[in-house]
């Protein structure tokens, strides 16, 4: 059956090998960067887990100390953006999306811990120096889904923080958190989501809201709600 008639142009197999090798190399580079990002995220999370144990008045100082860890994440995301922009965004997006969400969570949580405020997607994009919710061109960016998934992680962390704040004697934090989670819940409640990961995870927000409400209940019942909170509350309503 040996034959030298070229019925099949062998260059096609050389091309495909080249393409596969290029993809493999690109994938390896991306994964290496992502692995590094994951490591930095874990360090930032470990440092931020102290938020549950540190009194409010010492918190700003602690958050300031965690900034280098967050800057490390941002630097790595920049490198990732540079690399990833060489190829179509949606071809490789699955490689980094989870890690970028986790990094975004650390930034949102650090910001909330220090200031009780939420970074918008634009704020977050500015911090990371990457575009957000890009529609008109194919480049590295932060998607709305990624932002929302990080936001859900924040809600989950805050439900825990509400209880731990009480443990270290901070009775005003839970009320702040309750208002915040209530607002986010109202936003998600009107979304008509597809049956995907965002839908599944957002279904949990109502349980987090209930947890936080339970803490507020415990404080109200015992007359532990700080006075100024009540006034604040009235003014706001």
């Amino acid at each position: 059956m040996a034959s030298n008639t070229v019925m099949v142009d062998s260059s096609i197999f050389e091309d495909i090998q080249q393409k596969i090798d290029d993809d493999t190399a690109f994938n390896d580079e991306l994964r290496e960067t992502v692995q590094q990002l994951n490591k930095q995220v874990r360090s930032a999370q470990a440092a931020l887990s102290q938020v549950h144990a540190i009194p409010r008045d010492q918190l700003a100082a602690h958050i300031t100390k965690t900034q280098p860890l967050i800057h490390a994440e941002i630097t790595t995301i920049s490198q990732l953006a540079t690399k990833a922009s060489q190829q179509p965004y949606y071809k490789w997006n699955h490689v980094w999306t989870r890690s970028v969400q986790d990094a975004c969570f650390t930034i949102l949580f650090a910001h909330y811990a220090a200031s009780s405020a939420l970074l918008t997607i634009e704020d977050l994009g500015a911090r990371l120096s990457i575009p957000v919710n890009l529609k008109d061109r194919d480049a590295f960016h932060l998607t709305i889904e990624e932002y929302l998934l990080a936001l859900i992680s924040l809600i989950e962390e805050l439900a825990r923080l509400a209880r731990n704040a009480v443990t270290i004697g901070d009775y005003s934090r839970p009320l702040e958190i309750a208002r915040f989670v209530n607002n986010i819940h109202a936003g998600f409640q009107i979304l008509n989501l597809k049956n995907d990961i965002l839908r599944r995870r957002s279904d949990g927000i109502k349980y987090r809201l209930k947890e936080v409400e339970d803490v507020v209940y415990d404080l109200s019942l015992r007359g532990l709600v700080p006075k100024e909170e009540t006034k604040d509350e009235e003014m706001k309503t």
């Binding site: 360090s43 470990a46 144990a53 825990r160 731990n164 443990t167 415990d218 015992r222």
Partner: protein
Amino acid sequence: EDAFGERPAKMESPFMPMFEGFKSELDEHHDRRERIIKASRDITATSKKIIFGLQRVRNMKQPIPGAITKSNQPLWDLISKAYSSISTDLQGLNTYRYSKQITGGTQEFMEALSFQHYLEAQSLVSLQEASRSTADLGGPNNPILLSEADYLLGVFDMTGELMRFAITVMATSGEVPSAKLEVEGEQSHRNVLTDLRDVRDFLKAVDVPHYSSLNKDMNKKMEVLETCVVKVENALYGLTVRGAERPKGWLPDEKMVGRDEVVGH
């Protein structure tokens, strides 16, 4: 006509001697494998009994109460016997060959060992110390290997026991377990919860290749560990919220029955 029936003209395959050799090697290998699996089951079951015994301890950073030490000692001996019985099977080339078969037992042993160590010393036993223990179990010249994976996964499981211990002590004494003997200024901020969080943060920082099976195992167990931390946090939150109603200077009635400790022996 020979033993194989009526057909004439048989030939012996020229490769039979070779396969006879392979057969005896493979049989030896499979028998060894079975022995190790059985020993691993024994070690697992016995380690679980030790852990049950240790869950009756109520204080930290003190010698394990004599009654518990006494009832656990035969169990430690049984483990030693089980390891000794297969330690020659786990030497040299075979150390890693059967690691999948022995790892279950070794992880559970590590769980028991590190739990007892924590109760006695309020600290995490090191890989070096634990390795020394497993090495000794194999008997002279036949040390048993404790791999990093066995160590880490055993520590993960131990945190579950720490959670049980913490909740039980909080339920019976109304206080989060912490060492009482140290000077107040040095020690007051360390308790089971801070220790659990410490171990969690260290374990979380361990950087394992994403494709390794250890990574998969650790990710699964990390979720359980986070749940354990939350359970202890919630219990402590409950104590705090209730405690906040305590009038200044209020002390629990010494005669208050519920808070008394009820013991088994």
